[in-house]
């Protein structure tokens, strides 16, 4: 899943505590001041292409969708700004490309870091947001029996 892959990419790129990286905000208690959470969420995604494959040995159909989507990465805590800038810098590193290959995603470079705390109505707790475009593939498999012998019936309507 793209969100898990991006979360793993952020964790390994920044060498960050995995317990502070959270996907989405569902059921997460409000982030308290000083705790350096990184929240990752998905905005809209657009299909770019579809692929299909059938494995006659395993008798499995595979449907693949290449998707491009916008993801938000929100940095909280006292080091929020520093972490956001560090992420933006390290995106050009060799480690970044290796992690993208490992996690099966392509992460676009970000240019803008937005200070969201004022929109939050929060004057003191830092919150900086980065929006990145991520290209990834999603796949679903369906067990489908192989046809070994086709039964063909010719209907002649003469």
């Amino acid at each position: 899943m793209s969100l898990d892959a991006l979360a793993a990419y952020v964790r390994d790129l920044l060498v960050y505590d995995a317990s502070l990286i959270v996907i989405g905000r569902e059921n997460l208690n409000r982030v308290t001041s000083g705790r350096g959470y990184i929240l990752i969420d998905e905005l809209v995604s657009t299909p770019m292409g579809r692929r299909y494959a059938y494995n006659g040995t395993t008798e499995v159909e595979q449907f693949v969708l290449d998707v491009k989507g916008a993801f938000t990465i929100d940095f909280f805590g006292d080091s929020a700004a520093a972490n956001a800038k560090k992420f933006r810098l390290l995106q050009s590193s060799e480690k970044s490309f290796e992690l993208q290959r490992t996690n099966g995603i392509c992460v676009g470079h970000t240019t803008t870091i937005t200070d969201l705390k004022s929109l939050d109505g929060n004057q003191f707790n830092p919150r900086f947001q980065i929006v990145v475009n991520v290209v990834s593939s999603e796949a679903a498999t369906v067990s489908t029996l192989r046809i070994d012998t086709a039964v063909v019936q010719i209907i002649n309507n003469e």
Partner: protein
């Protein structure tokens, strides 16, 4: 010396269930671990108009809970078969009791 006002609750308290939640993160997702206890608390309906407009949902029930037992944000209270989540706390711990506004949880 601040007065301990907790004795005021004794005459009106009833037994309710408190589910204390410890939240951790596993595989990038929050995981709640509940611990269930029975506490004595005074339960009243909460005034929705006094709750922060950013928090209140008028389609839900809200209760005001006072207890000598600590209640934290995110903890659940079970009262008359319905579950409520603590969303706002009152700063009365120095006076011997805890206050929580709880939102109906479905």
């Amino acid at each position: 010396m601040l007065p301990n006002m907790s004795g005021v609750l004794d005459a009106f308290a009833q037994a309710i269930t408190l589910k204390t939640i410890v939240q951790t993160v596993a595989n990038f997702r929050p995981v709640d671990t509940p611990t269930t206890t029975t506490i004595m608390a005074v339960v009243q309906p909460a005034n929705k108009e006094k709750i922060s407009p950013a928090l209140v949902d008028f389609s839900l029930d809200y209760i005001l809970v006072h207890s000598k037992s600590a209640i934290g944000i995110g903890d659940f209270v079970v009262y008359k078969g319905a579950t409520y989540k603590a969303i706002e706390l009152g700063p009365y711990a120095d006076y011997g009791f805890y206050e929580a506004i709880c939102e109906e949880s479905k």
